[in-house]
Every structure is written in structure tokens, then in C-alpha cells.
Amino acid sequence: MRNSIALKNAFITKILRTGWGSSATLAVLSMIVSLLALCLCSYFAGASPLQVMVALFEGALRGRYALTTTLSEWVAMTLCGLAVLIPYRAGFFNVGGQGQLEVGAVAAAAVALSLNAPRPLVIMLALAAAVAAGLLAVSVPLILRLRRGASEVTTTIMMNFACIQFMYAMVTGPLKDARSWYGTTPPVPQAYQLPSFPPGSGIPAGMWVAALIALAAAWLMNSTVFGLYLRAVGSNRPAAVAAGIPVNRVLTGAVLMGAALAGLAGGLQLLGYTFRVAEGWSKSWGLVGIPIALLGGNPLGVLVVGFLFAILETGARSMQALTGAPAALIYLFQGLPVIIYLGLRASAWYSRWSQAAG
């Protein structure tokens, strides 16, 4: 027993020494292991693993409609991943992405459905409203954290419930489509929907926005004083205080940025993908943002992992249709790699720690 633990530690230490212990390697490793687990599960569900993989990726990438859907999913996955990642790097675990996204979409819908103005103006205003709503949704947890030291994990989770109930109240009340028998807003008029770019290509304009934002976030993290401070606050907050870094300002900036992106994701999905806010309109983008951020590790990583998650989300349906493997297996993939990744990283830390101590 002891021997095997020592052996395992030696193995991990070796990996660490050769530079293979970086977060990126562990993330890729855990995703590969998870895909293998997916294959295994589909085998037990009576489908051929090879066929399942083929159906999954074909269903997500083959054909214009599938590709458009995947890219649209990618928009939300990337932005929600960044909404978790940026505050997380400053030491604030924003679990409230889902709620921020929902109220963002409601705010965008309210603007797009009530204004009558040129298309670019309406779209800009709707997205601005989405951002503002996201900021509003995070303000309560943020203030509680800064003033009272309340754990943001608890408060942002609770805010999710409040935000989702607010969304229900809006779509069954003031914003309800009078012709509909269930709670939904009217569709956003075609004139105010986000076009694809280049026109007619089927590539959602939101994808370019999300990609640009991810690149900007990478630049912010690596090349600005603010980004350096942000990582310092997340790395060791007391040390940041002692170094004279304005910790609360940095934290506030990071959290507001994250929430703004989650709100923006809601607005973009409304204007470019779903066109309505309704009961159960949204996938759990805001929550999936958490594994995407943890596995991605940095803004560019979020872009990559977000794409993989988008493929799985879109491909799940054709996988079920073509092979009979239940689509719910995909949700296994949303959780499993994170657990494997955290496990690997913890043991890597442990071996480093025990090395340092011994």
C-alpha cells in the first residue's frame, strides 16, 4: 500500500520534472480519459464506441446547419467560461454566470422588443442592457464579499435562483407573448436579429465578438499591469495587500468584467440564436462555464475547451438518433474531466508539497 503510493508519487514527480505537469497537459489528459470513459459507457449502453464518436463529431460539424448551431453554442460557452475564469484568477469564484446570463437576455429582450430604431443602434443598446443586467446581478454578491466577507460561492449560487425566477416573472408577466400559451417573450423582430458574418455565411456574428473578447482577455491578463495585479490577488491575497496592490479595486474590476461577459452572452444568444426568452429557453451555459474555465485555465484555453464542449452539446442529439446511446451521456462529459483534472492536479500538488516538506 505504502509502496504503491510512493511509486505513484515518484511517477507524478517525474512528470512534473519533465514539464509535463503543467495545467494544460493535465487538462488535455483528463479530457482524453473522459472521452474514453464516454466510449466505455456507450459500449455498455449497447452502441459501438467508434460509431458514437463519429456520430458525435459528424452531428456537430457536418453540414451547414450543424456547424452554425455548434458555433452559436460556442459563443455562449466561451463567454461564460471567461465569466468564470477572469474573476477566478483574482480569487472570486463566480458561480452565478447562469443567473447573469438569464437577466442579461431578459434585459436585451426588453430593449429589442420595445425600441423602434435603426438596427445597429437597437442591437448596441440591447447588448448594453444585457451587460448592465449582468453587472446588476453580480453587484449583490460583490458588495457582500467586499463589505462583509460573505462567501461568493454561496451568494452567487443564490443569486442564480433569484435571477431565474426574475426571468420567469418577466416572461409570464410584462414581457409575455400574448399569443403564446406558455411563458415566453415574442420573438425578436427579424430586423433586430444579429446577422451572420460574413453575410450569408451562417457564421454567427457573436462568434467573432466572443473570439475577439477572448483574445482581448488573454492580452489583458498577460500584458497589462491590471492583469498582473489580478493574478497576484488570486495567487496570494495577503501578499498582494502587503505589496500595496489596491486589492479590492482589482477584485471589483475582475468580477464586473466576468459578470458583464455573462450578461453579454445572454444578449448575444437572444439576438443571434434563440430569439426568444422563454421558460427553459437557455441551456445551462452559465454553469458549463465553470468546467470550461477550470479546464481552459487561460482565455485561449477557454476558447479551445469551449469549442469541444460546443461540439459535444450539438453532437449529442445525432449521437442518440444514430447510435441509440443516450444524449445524457454528454452531461457525464461536462463533469467527469473536471473531476479527473482536479484529482490529477491535487496529486501533483501533493507530491510537490511532500517533496518540499521531506
Binding site: S235, N236, G244
Partner: protein, 527 residues
Amino acid sequence: MNTRADDDVRQPYAVKMQGICKSFGPVRALQDVALRLECGEIRALVGENGAGKTTLMNILYGMYKPDRGRIWVWGEEVGRDWSPGQAIARGIGMIHQHFSLIPAHTVLENVVMPRLTWGKVLPRWHEHRRALEELAAQYGFSLRLDSLVESLSVGEQQQVEILKLLYQGARLLILDEPTAVLTPQQIDALLQLLLVIKSQGYTVVLITHKLSEAMAVSDSITVLRGGRLVATLPREGTTAQEVAKLMVNRELVVSGTAATERPQQECVLEVRDLVVEHENGKRSVDGVSLTVRAGEIVGIAGVAGNGQSELAEALVGIRRATSGSILINGADVTDRSVRSRKRAGMGYICEDRHLNGMFPDMSVAHNLVMEHVDLPPFSSYGLLRHRRIQEAAREAIEAYDIRTPGPEVPMGNLSGGNQQKVVLARALATKPRILVACEPTRGLDLAATAYVRRKLAGCAAEGIGVLLISSELEELLELSHRILVMFRGRIVGEVRREDFDVERIGLLMTGQAPAEAGGGGDGDAVG
């Protein structure tokens, strides 16, 4: 199975420990310690921080396993599976510095709880209450059994802890620094209580670094120093001076080629009547005044926990001062932020670099520039200038001989000594006028320690004022022009280099102020 110690059959003893060794990693906390406690005595266990007092008692109580050594309790040797549970069953009780009471429960519930077992669904509270009332009356406890513990004063909570041990049937009570949190009146009450307990035939071990308490109640005094047992003396016929001399290392000599430069007249740090209060109203810094001149190293001596850390944090701006003022170079910075004080010329080496001195997963280069990265040449318009940062990092790595594969390596990968060099390089990179250095050599090996000390002396030679807070007397003697001694948040004495006297400093540190001490300390304010 249990062997009787043959030479002790005639004389009863409470505890005998032989050849106890204990290491924590590379630190040898206890080396070959032998201790014998007689039945019915009060034994004071004294020594500086890190002398091994608490470790020794934790071993007796079963919290730690000794690496080597044997223990006999009431004449029987204990097994390898010695644990707190067994210790309690054999009548040993220990009160740690931090109480283990449940604040929302009553005194009765707290005291009875350890005796309850899972099988007892309905405890017989009335029987417990009657027994406890008897016990409390016997020892003169003034506790109401139905009070909630959270409503009690710290002194009363301590009485609850003692009552709990007595009710568990402890015959040997170990108290770890019991007076650290008490007011003088509460201390007197506690010491009286210990005498009463002793008169009933109990054995008491009092871990303390305050000699006045040890002298007041104990029957004998055991002195530990650096993990070794130095001596056990009967209290009768021993003076506090003698014990203090044993506590501090007599080998220490005022060597110091280090602090030869004469300090200049210019005053770089001035502190007036500084008070730092905790939320609970306890004053950790209680009216401290001091000055540091350019090129002067002022040492702050004292047993840890007498307000030194809080003083440093208040100076740097991490902790708010309740009252008083702080002047850097004559400019009042009392209400200014950490950053603003750094700009005004404050440098800081924190007490625990892992806690608040470094960003372990960030690169050495970023760690080196963190405090002034927002200034040119490291950034312009909020954008980092990576090349300048790398250049500066390479220079610092060269100048301070930091052993690292490169500036991009995460700081957490360096050895402790090299990490401390990074911390030092960062603090000095901003060209401070005053450097507040807290325990700058703690946990470093000999070479790194020597390096840091040389560097501090070099700072003074360049005209930087240094406030050196250290629990290593040797370090203070080597480097300081003057040493101020802190005790209970006050400066109780000042010793100049020409009359450094280990014995006197030791007495001041343990609260045994000699007659002429009052005049020396410029912070010994009245009230």
C-alpha cells in the same frame, strides 16, 4: 507489558520522560529531553519561543509521537499507541492556548460533554449538576452552571476548562501559556486557583515564558532552550535573574562587525504613541514611540506575541492604527495606504513570506517587480514592458545571487533562502529610506542567514534606516545599534550597543524589568 522503572519504586512520581527526541522535518524540536514530575507539585516549564515547551507537553499528552524516548505515567510505562484519549483515561489533562469550548452551550453541558458516550441518550443532568456543584464549591469556582459559555469572560472560560479537566478525573493538569489572554486580576485569580488545586494533591505543569508567574506559584522550574533541557531548579533559593540567564544563550557575545557605521542625525521613521487595538478591544500595541535614524539599525526584541507583528503591520499600513502617528522622513503617513507609504520610502520584509511575502505560482521576475510595476520603466499607460521587467529581474538575480534556473521560473520552486533573497531584493528595489524587517532570517540555513544579515548591515551603511524585529536575540545583538524590548505591547526598555547585556535584555523580555529600565524606553508611556 508495562515495565516498572526500578529506581523509582520508593519515590512516587507523576511522570517520568526519558531521552525524548522529536523532529519536525529538518527542525529538531526536542533533543534527548529527560523530565520528572513529582506528585503534587506545580512545575513551571519556561523557555523562549521554539524552546520546545509545548512540544514536550504535547508528547506527554499523546498529541505527538516522540521519535525516540520512553514515558512513564504514575509508575507505568506507556505504549506506542499513547494518545490523548489514553492520557485522559490515565488522569492527564491539558488546556491548550486556544480553548476547546462550545460557545453556544452552557457551562454544565461543556463540562459534562467529554464524559458522555453515544449510548447515553438521556444524560442524568441532575446527578452531573450535583457533582459539579460540589466540585465547584470545593475549589471556589464562581461559575453559574447554566450560563452560556459565550457570555463568559476569558478568565471564566478558562475556569470552565479547568473544571472540565477536574471533572474528567485529571490528576495532572497541563496549562499552556494560560495567562497570555488574561488581565492582571484574572492572572492573580488563576494562580490562586492553581495553588488550591495543588493543595488537594494534584500535579500541575505551567508552561509560560513569564518568569513572574513561574516564580509566584511553582515549586520547581524547568528551563528549556533550543529543544534541550537546560536545568531544573527548585524555586526556593533561585532568582528570576538566574532563570532568565539560563533561558537565553549565555554563549551569545556582542560580536558585530556589522553595525559599525555611525547613524546620521536625520530621522527617517518616527512613531508617536502608536496604539493598535483588536476588534475585541485588546491592545496589542499600547502606546509605542520610537525613532529610527538614517543608517541606523534599531532592533525590537521580545517574546513573540507581545505586539511586534502588529507594530510592523501598523507601520506598513496593513493594519489600522487606533491612535498615534507615524512619520516617514518627517511626512505624516498615519492615514495613508500601503502603496502610498511605499512611495514615501517604506520597505517591508514580512514575517512569514509564504503567508504574505510571495506569489508562489508567479514567476520570479514578476515577484521581483510587483511593488513598482505600475511605474516606469516597467510599464507605460498600464501596459507591461516585458523586456524591461526581464532585464531588471536578471540584474536582481545577479546582484542578490538568487539561485534560479531563470527569471521565468515560478517563485514557489525556489529554495527558502532564495525566496527570501527575492523578497529582500523586491523590498530594496524601490530604494526605501526605512526598511521594516520582520524575522528576516527565520527558517533559513546558515549561509542564507549570513547573507541576509550582511545585506541588512549593508543597507544601514548606505543610509537606510532599518527597524529589525526578531525573536533571535543573537541576530539583534549582531546587527543593532540599539535594542528596544517589547513586552505586552509596550516598549519596556532600551539598550544601546555600548551596554548590550544579554541578561538584562532577557529579563526585560520576560517582564522582569530591572529598576533602571523605566528611564531607558522612550515608549514607556504612563497610562
